[in-house]
């Protein structure tokens, strides 16, 4: 049976349309699941279409690959929601691996006569693929805490990194001019592999949302380059969609951390100047017990909860949900304010809270909830620090000055659950804690919230 190339192309065109619809339907939680189905259907069509190519003779190998991949994929789809950031980094690595391997094979199949433009995109595919592979593995290792999360920096790091990248591009240029220098090709893989590691070494935990987005963008671009090599419009489009998605997310994340755009593009993140620790005089803070906190909360009519990565670390999201239920039952309006970079990847906090069964219409973006803080009785900060620091708004000397924050200090009362007075990721003191209206609730997030819940339910049955 012979299927014409045109028939196969038609499956690709339908798949492309389904991919675009898939992302379009993701714009709202009500249609999002339809988006996944569209994506699955498109993927199935494209794979089936490809299997019909008459030039494919070795089905055994192909099916072995598909089955093994599915066996690895299922557990990767079933990880806990807290592990989603490292899973995502790992899947960027797998995507990049696929692209790099295909690019490598294509080079050896076609060498030595490769037209200059083809060699250029092939180099781009392999360079981006290799650096994304090791970079993503490093990011996954840091997120899984196999590797130290502390940023490792040294003098001249940026220079060494840029020089390494320049070396890889130099090799690519030589190959474009002399594609017969086949022996040089392994350098095109090896140097970016090293570069990927060096790129992520200086990155700390709180910078992960930006880095993951950037790696996402690289993975997409390398796939688009692969589309040029294989002359596949489907791949170019899928790669461009993925690339622009990662790019947009990187921009959103960098804006939310007040980093410039070039700063992101050149991977110049992670260098947080350790703020001049300043005078360490112990300023007085007010603290409160769970009973007092419960009493204040039950007297409120509008409460805003601001969660941060500390809540995820303490696994407190289910207790927070109980708090949400207890307060809602009393007719108190409870909403959540989510900072774009809260958590370890874009949107991470929303997923954790949704998993705890908190309705998504209660999860508000920073810009939406910020206008409401002056009318809010209690702002409860759980495991967040720098994203609530008023110094970002009014202290021009502060290292985080200009970073958009959640204006919790404008609420009538602020309560902060915190282990101790230790400084946050950026190593900066938070003036919020010394305000007259701020109560510090010292303790473990999970334990403290459950104590508040117990008080609330004990008091009024």
């Amino acid at each position: 049976m012979i299927f014409s190339e045109n028939f196969i192309e038609v499956t690709y065109i339908i798949a492309t349309a389904l991919f675009i619809l898939s992302l379009k339907w993701l714009s709202s939680p009500t249609t999002a699941r339809r988006g996944v189905w569209a994506g699955e259907l498109g993927m199935a069509l494209a794979i089936c279409g490809t299997l019909l190519y008459q030039s494919i003779v070795d089905y055994k190998l192909v099916f072995t690959g598909l089955v093994l991949g599915a066996i690895i994929g299922v557990p990767l789809g079933r990880v806990a929601m807290t592990a989603v950031p490292q899973r995502t980094a790992l899947s960027h690595a797998f995507g990049a691996l696929c692209v790099t391997l295909v690019g490598t094979a294509e080079f050896y199949l076609r060498a030595p006569d490769i037209p200059p433009f083809m060699m250029a995109v092939l180099s781009m595919e392999v360079i981006l693929g290799s650096l994304t592979f090791t970079g993503s593995l490093m990011a996954a290792g840091k997120l899984q805490e196999i590797l130290p999360q502390r940023p490792i920096t040294y003098k001249g790091q940026n220079f060494v990194n840029l020089a390494t990248l320049a070396l890889a591009i130099g090799v690519a240029v030589i190959l474009v001019v002399h594609p017969d220098l086949v022996k040089l090709f392994p350098m095109l893989i090896f140097i970016p592999l090293v570069f990927g590691v060096m790129l992520i070494i200086p990155i700390g935990g709180a910078d992960m949302p930006t880095v993951i987005s950037l790696l996402n963008s690289y993975a997409g671009l390398s796939a688009a380059a692969m589309g040029f090599v294989l002359n596949s419009k489907l791949l170019i489009i899928a790669g461009a969609l993925d690339g622009s998605s990662g790019f947009i997310l990187s921009v959103i994340m960098s804006k939310a951390m007040n980093r410039s755009f070039t700063n992101v593009l050149f991977g110049g993140f992670g260098q947080i100047q350790t703020a001049a620790a300043g005078e360490q005089e112990a300023k007085p803070v007010k603290s409160a017990t769970p009973e007092e906190a419960a009493a204040i909360l039950s007297a409120a009519s509008r409460v805003a909860i601001v969660p941060g990565y500390g809540m995820a670390v303490a696994q407190a999201q289910h207790k927070v949900r109980e708090l949400y239920d207890a307060l809602s039952k009393r007719g108190i309006d409870v909403r959540f304010g989510i900072h774009p970079v809260a958590g370890r990847m874009p949107g991470h906090m929303n997923v954790l809270l949704a998993e705890a069964d908190i309705p998504y219409d209660k999860l508000l973006e920073m810009d939406v909830i910020n206008g409401d803080f002056p009318q809010t009785d209690v702002a409860l900060v759980i495991g967040a620090n720098d994203v609530t620091n008023p110094a970002a708004r009014n202290e021009t000397g502060s290292p985080i000055y200009g970073m958009p924050i959640l204006d919790v200090d404008r609420a009538r009362t602020v309560m902060v659950i915190k282990r101790s007075m230790a400084a946050g990721f950026a190593g900066i003191d938070n003036p919020l804690y010394y305000l007259d209206k701020t109560l510090m609730l010292f303790g473990d997030a999970k334990g403290f919230v459950s104590n508040i819940v117990r008080e609330l339910s004990g008091g009024h049955g």
């Binding site: 991919f19 992302l23 379009k24 993701l26 714009s27 939680p29 999002a32 996944v36 994506g39 993927m43 494209a46 794979i47 490809t50 030039s55 494919i56 003779v57 070795d58 192909v62 690959g65 991949g69 599915a70 690895i72 299922v74 789809g77 989603v84 899947s91 960027h92 797998f94 696929c98 391997l101 295909v102 094979a105 294509e106 050896y108 433009f117 796939a223 589309g227 040029f228 596949s232 419009k233 489907l234 791949l235 170019i236 489009i237 899928a238 461009a240 969609l241 998605s245 947009i248 997310l249 959103i252 990847m345 949107g347 991470h348 929303n350 949704a354 309705p359 998504y360 209660k362 973006e365």
Partner: protein, 101 residues
């Protein structure tokens, strides 16, 4: 070949604009599922890997088959894992509207 290349560049440009416009509208609420979904879609690279592993090659056949098969495995795990986790996440997003006791 030249015309193919030019068409491909047009396709890239248009897809970039479509991607930008479509993804800009995705609610920040769903940024994590967005990333896992685009990741799964990006694994369409499996198409290239299938052709590489399945075709008959005159020279370098072993290399092509080995690399092609590993590439299929890597991409398929992204497809399967990516769709499963995206769907799991999206199922969790519930509105407070209908199911209030």
């Amino acid at each position: 070949m030249k015309i193919d290349l030019l068409t491909s560049l047009y396709v890239l440009m248009l897809a970039g604009f479509i991607g930008f416009e479509v993804i800009r509208r995705v609610s920040p609420l769903l940024h994590t599922p967005l990333m896992s979904l685009t990741n799964a879609l990006d694994a369409i690279a499996v198409v290239g890997a299938i052709i590489l592993a399945g075709e008959k090659h005159e020279h370098m056949a072993t290399l092509a088959k080995v690399l092609g098969t590993i590439a299929i495995i890597a991409a398929t795990s992204n497809i399967v894992g990516g769709f499963i986790i995206t769907d799991r996440m999206l199922r969790m997003f519930k509105s407070s509207g209908p199911k209030k006791p």
